[in-house]
Amino acid sequence: MTHVAASRTRLSVVQGGAAKPSASTLDALFRQHARFVGGIAYRILGRDGEIDDVVQEVFLETLRAADRLDLTQPPQGWFATVTVRVAAKRLRRRRMRKLLGFDTGATYEHMATPDASPETRAQISRLYCALDDLPPAERLAWTLRHIEGEQLDAVAERCACSLATAKRRIAAAHSRLQKVVGHG
């Protein structure tokens, strides 16, 4: 006999072959991972107003990729990678807008926890302002490494580049940030 049970972490299976999501998993998938996606988007972009669009686009991409998704692997890796990709597009758009004078920047003290000291708030704000001046690819690699705490190979995977390229981007970003942020 066949025993079928619903589970939040095991989303679907098909007899034989790779696992595929069913339409009925969208709500469960969303409830399980949307906050995670939003958190990564927030820490990469620094702007709350952009999160909703990013989360929406990540899940749309998930629906589009549904027939090739392998849900036997933990889906968080998938979501992290797609979030980085979508955030990268937003960063490139933001940079273009800035070059054209449409993006006047932002302050980032709101990103600190409520109990953070004024000094910490200022450091966070300085850091994110400095990140705004970096090329998107470097900013992403550095943020994944030093804010998200990802291992180098994970950074490379998320950024869809080689390990050497990831290291190079992180080093370049780090060098620029050190000049601007200094000792905080």
């Binding site: 066949t2 069913s22 009925s24 998993t25």
Partner: protein, 382 residues
């Protein structure tokens, strides 16, 4: 490590999370469904058009009538009559004749006993399921829930265990015959019937919650208790969790919630399934702390662990909570899952040593376990 690296490591722990609540989630999810149905995806994937329309029309992923792309695709992949491990789960089962059973809510389980041209039989093990049965007068189609048998020819109906372990059968289209012992009844479209729970697997189902509001079977299935005090319960039993959550808060039910396993589990379910997982923590903690001897305590601890880990990102707390499940789980049915989740939670908390230790414990206890591969990888045993 240079100054900037040290500083960024410190700052990492001072970064807040974005404000996140049910309303925001709901709005974003609605946007996903809207964009999907507006054809952005349809241009790339025409076959999903039917599913997209259903998403917009119903506001939920599954329609009551008709077929979604996924189930249509699955028609060719009807479940073989074999044993599916706990890792292999789906929210819907498509039978050989195209009939579909869709699981409702968390912790629902259905077993396919027979899937033959002349006879189909399924057992609802826990939770609830929605059935869309193709019309075929040459075939008998039965759904068993406890000692209740639902017999249909071709119709759309739902069978579910309520919070007080009663069995509710609701019919959307057509007519079904329902029998419990010597009692039989026919239920027409738009009606529902509730049978008191008898001997059933649902009694052992950790997701089923006890409730003092047992009602005798009646066509409407309504509770006879004070409507003002139990409105949220009735809504929850109907699966209307968002409305139940609103009613719960409006009625001030938190202050009046009895310290009783069934009520605590139901309140937690309402919070979780309406998108307010943080509000599920208190009743689940109370269940585990005050009712350790109750068979539902293990399920409560397991559910609490999942909420802490998956919804709230409190990985260390989740790990400690999962660790409690074994001591509460005398039947042992949750222990394997709980231990695998404990390994995952320690790993996500950055506690690699503990993850490694608990992964080794899992491998020793469950050498052929369903989660072996994940545990070995996450626990650093590979």
């Amino acid at each position: 490590m240079d100054e900037l690296s040290r500083a960024s490591e410190k700052l990492r722990s001072s970064l807040s999370d974005p404000e996140w609540n049910g309303e925001r989630e709901h709005a974003i999810l609605a946007g996903v469904k809207r964009e999907w149905s507006n054809g952005q995806a349809r241009r790339r994937w025409p076959a999903l058009a039917a599913a997209a329309v259903l998403l917009v029309a119903t506001g939920t992923v599954l329609a009551i009538e008709g077929r979604s792309f996924w189930s249509a695709k699955k028609v060719a992949e009807a479940p073989a009559m074999g044993t599916v491990t706990q890792q292999e789960v789906s929210r819907e089962v498509v039978l050989r004749d195209g009939s579909i059973a869709r699981l409702i809510g968390e912790n629902s389980a259905v077993r396919v006993d027979k899937d033959e041209p002349a006879f189909v039989s399924l057992t609802l093990l826990s939770g609830g399921a929605h059935f869309d049965v193709t019309h075929n007068e040459q075939r008998a189609f039965h759904v068993l829930a406890g000692d209740v048998v639902v017999e249909v020819v071709g119709t759309i109906f739902r069978v579910e265990y309520t919070a007080d372990l009663a069995i509710r059968v609701s019919v959307d289209r057509g007519r079904v015959k329902v029998q419990q012992g010597s009692r039989t009844a026919e239920v027409a479209a738009g009606d529902s019937i509730v049978f008191p729970g008898g001997p059933s697997v649902a009694a052992k189902d950790p997701a089923a919650a006890g409730n003092a509001d047992d009602s005798p079977p009646s066509p409407s299935g309504a509770s006879s208790a004070d409507p003002a005090r139990t409105r949220w319960r009735a809504l929850a039993r109907d699966g209307q969790y968002e409305a139940a959550y609103d009613a719960f808060n409006r009625e001030g039910a938190a202050a009046l919630l009895p310290d009783e396993p069934g009520a605590l589990l139901l309140a937690a379910d309402v919070a979780r399934l309406s998108g307010h997982p943080a509000d599920a923590v208190a009743p689940l903690r109370k269940l585990v702390a005050h009712h350790r001897a109750d068979p539902r305590a293990a399920a409560g601890a397991f559910t609490l662990g999942k909420v802490l880990l998956d919804d709230l990102g409190r990985a260390s707390e989740a790990a400690r909570t999962f660790a409690q499940v074994s001591s509460l789980d005398s039947a042992g049915s949750l222990s394997e899952d709980a231990l695998s989740h404990e390994v995952e939670a320690w790993a996500r908390a950055g506690e690699d040593r503990r993850a490694h230790e608990r992964a080794a414990a899992y491998v020793a206890r469950f050498p052929n376990g369903a989660h072996l591969r994940m545990v070995r990888k996450v626990g650093g045993l590979d």
